[in-house]
Symmetry: D5
Subunit: 112 residues, 10 copies
Amino acid sequence: MIDIETFENPHPKRDFVILHVAPEFTSVCPKTGQPDFGTIEIEYVADKVCVELKSLKFYLQSFRNEGVFYEDIVNRILDDLVAALAPRRMKVTGKFTPRGGMHSVVTAEHPE
Amino acid sequence: MIDIETFENPHPKRDFVILHVAPEFTSVCPKTGQPDFGTIEIEYVADKVCVELKSLKFYLQSFRNEGVFYEDIVNRILDDLVAALAPRRMKVTGKFTPRGGMHSVVTAEHPE
Amino acid sequence: MIDIETFENPHPKRDFVILHVAPEFTSVCPKTGQPDFGTIEIEYVADKVCVELKSLKFYLQSFRNEGVFYEDIVNRILDDLVAALAPRRMKVTGKFTPRGGMHSVVTAEHPE
Amino acid sequence: MIDIETFENPHPKRDFVILHVAPEFTSVCPKTGQPDFGTIEIEYVADKVCVELKSLKFYLQSFRNEGVFYEDIVNRILDDLVAALAPRRMKVTGKFTPRGGMHSVVTAEHPE
Amino acid sequence: MIDIETFENPHPKRDFVILHVAPEFTSVCPKTGQPDFGTIEIEYVADKVCVELKSLKFYLQSFRNEGVFYEDIVNRILDDLVAALAPRRMKVTGKFTPRGGMHSVVTAEHPE
Amino acid sequence: MIDIETFENPHPKRDFVILHVAPEFTSVCPKTGQPDFGTIEIEYVADKVCVELKSLKFYLQSFRNEGVFYEDIVNRILDDLVAALAPRRMKVTGKFTPRGGMHSVVTAEHPE
Amino acid sequence: MIDIETFENPHPKRDFVILHVAPEFTSVCPKTGQPDFGTIEIEYVADKVCVELKSLKFYLQSFRNEGVFYEDIVNRILDDLVAALAPRRMKVTGKFTPRGGMHSVVTAEHPE
Amino acid sequence: MIDIETFENPHPKRDFVILHVAPEFTSVCPKTGQPDFGTIEIEYVADKVCVELKSLKFYLQSFRNEGVFYEDIVNRILDDLVAALAPRRMKVTGKFTPRGGMHSVVTAEHPE
Amino acid sequence: MIDIETFENPHPKRDFVILHVAPEFTSVCPKTGQPDFGTIEIEYVADKVCVELKSLKFYLQSFRNEGVFYEDIVNRILDDLVAALAPRRMKVTGKFTPRGGMHSVVTAEHPE
Amino acid sequence: MIDIETFENPHPKRDFVILHVAPEFTSVCPKTGQPDFGTIEIEYVADKVCVELKSLKFYLQSFRNEGVFYEDIVNRILDDLVAALAPRRMKVTGKFTPRGGMHSVVTAEHPE
């Protein structure tokens, strides 16, 4: 896995909210081999560290040629970022473009 | 009834939310025999299984030539999906296009 | 008053929400005699019966040549529909087009 | 027919364009007796006179309880206003709300 | 084929434009058997007759269970309506919903 | 001060919500003498009386040539209307257009 | 009349287009004494001079308490600016907010 | 290169316009190695053949891991499709997402 | 640091909400030296004093040539304004434009 | 002046259109010393060379602390890019944010 780099939270005494929105997410459908597209939103309250933006971009790009279901993508990003940042709380949302006339949104939070 | 296929929930330890939006729903008005059109939204928290997307599409298409009222459509979809998935919770919304200058939205949840 | 027809609630065991949106409402201002225009939204949880759509349309049309204030319209529609349907709950909203550079929205609920 | 009042064009030496947009038009369908709704747009270059706004409003209201087809409404408004104003040119557009799942737009110009 | 009914053009001396927009069009993909969805726009200048709206609705509904390509749908609607109405000119546009991540628009005119 | 006229609340037994939106508000900046512009929204639950619309319009127009700060406008309108209507509750919002590249929104409620 | 100040066109050899959009225009209806509101758009190709923005703002503010018809406002602004700037060409558009359920747009150009 | 499949033009006697919009285009920046994203629009008048949609999708996907500049992408797609379809005319547009705070649109036509 | 000027709260007995939205914020990325852009929203309940708008504008402009991270900007603005105004509560939000295909929003509140 | 770098036009035989949109433009008002903000759009047909995007970004950033009028900005960007690229044709548009309640758009083309 691509390393997720962090930097020290500049205001750790305050619970403040950071949201990164990445509309250029793409992966591959494990069933059809066809590319999937979507927007990933990551909202969190940092504890000791914040995620570095360039490193987050590279991490999300690591899904580009990987076969993975929507439900899996969102939970794996949440697990990986929770492991790297140990945030006070985090929510990951994936909004995927239409397939077969339907579009899908998956949302996972830590802690629940 | 069309079988609703499922696959194993890849992250059953976490309550995460899945939303599928199907804007190409059509059925037939039981009173006039005229086609009705609408968008069906299915939001749920999976327990042991998730709904497979292609099978969901075929299930929704099974209403195409069936005569059924708005209030019935939404409750029947909820009943069928609850029976097939046994989700922790589920909400089904039907947003129907204008008839006689009025449009309608019907929403049902399980458990209430 | 126009009769409001109903049909048997097909899923009375579940509290589900029905919304009808009627953007073609018109009545007459009792002060100026000029026509008023607006959108009426009716949201309710049915108990034993649901409102039949065509009959609802005719009921709303019965205001077409009647002189009545905004505040009255919304409360009268709520009273008439509560009398006809005995719903578990109901909210009526009237959104009226600008008059004298101002537009107005009136909302009433049963029970409060 | 309601009289269409006019006032003297304050700048007759210049060809300038006047557009009035009336989104609160309603008439009655001659086939079904049901009310129709739409927006009427009147764009013209005045010659000797301009149309007075309040009088235009009353003229458009005169269709409120009259049975008339979309194609007729637009042509009749054009004929009546051309007769009253003798404009250098005029275009009338009617944009009608959906009936049977379709909406319609009719446009007529003078001179063609 | 469903008959396309017409009524006499009420203003044949003037070239005026009629547009009907039907957002509830559906047919079947001849390759996959899956339903297709789209909006059909019909813009024309009537000569002797106009198309009757209810009959146009039934005509468009006749494609509901027919297997036909996008390029064919638009040209066939144009051919059928030109045959029925002999309009001075007509343009038919089909705007179809996404399939495989792409959406399509087809436009044909008579005479070219 | 302009008198704020009222009429008897036609449904005093029910707590229902009335919203008037006035997008044509203008006053004068007390510092620069330049005109300010904004939208005033008044939302309230009437008790014994409702505000008469024409009188509300004249009341809001009385600020047209008066020098007053944003924070003052909203609180004064709230105070004046509470004095005139004795509503069960009321919220006044002023949304002002950009000045120096910033726009402002002020909201006050009674009772808090 | 307020003086309209100008500054030397910095690129007189090229025909380039300048558009100023003033959404905070207000005047008074000469018939009812009520305030009118609208957006004034001024598009021109400068010749020797350009209009100075602050002075343009003061000029437009000079209509604030003046009774004048829509058709007059646009033509007078065009006349005044043509007199002050002698532009190669100029178009003035006034887009006014709804009165009596209708809104209006007036456009004048020099030279025609 | 991926083969671009075609099917026989069903209405070759008429010049009609086909537009395919592909919002899920991605390639790689040849300078930075970073992925680029955009929407490709292909508008053409078919002569003997039309492009088959699934094959067009695969052709556009062939850029997924290829390093190529915006200006090149659009011209190469145009060249490849002109070679495969020999259309009467064709226009290709690429609308790319922001890079360095700027977004870009490139358009090429055949014949010019 | 630029002084933040204040004026006496004209209605200190009431908790009312003031929102200033500044869409023209710019600073410099401390890592790349490239300019960053965003919108700063400041929402607060005043206690003894309100912030003077022109002084707020100058304060926000003081970031124009300063190298500072998104997470820092929002917390520093909150700290500075809390120090200057001692508000009953305050929320600062920074919405920044896309960098590397992602945009970010940071929100901090006092007291938490 | 910052150097504007170019690269060889990859398809010089075809007249194709390139549009770059830069919404993060800022300069300084020469009269007030206050920052101005806007969007610069550059549309051109390349001849021998295309503008390199990063270099264009740096060129536009060179206005950041420079005092210059709207009318000047657009003409100077056009002059500088025409000198650097010798394009077959080019249009530069500047869309500036509101000042004093008015916003402005300036457009210049080469050759006229």
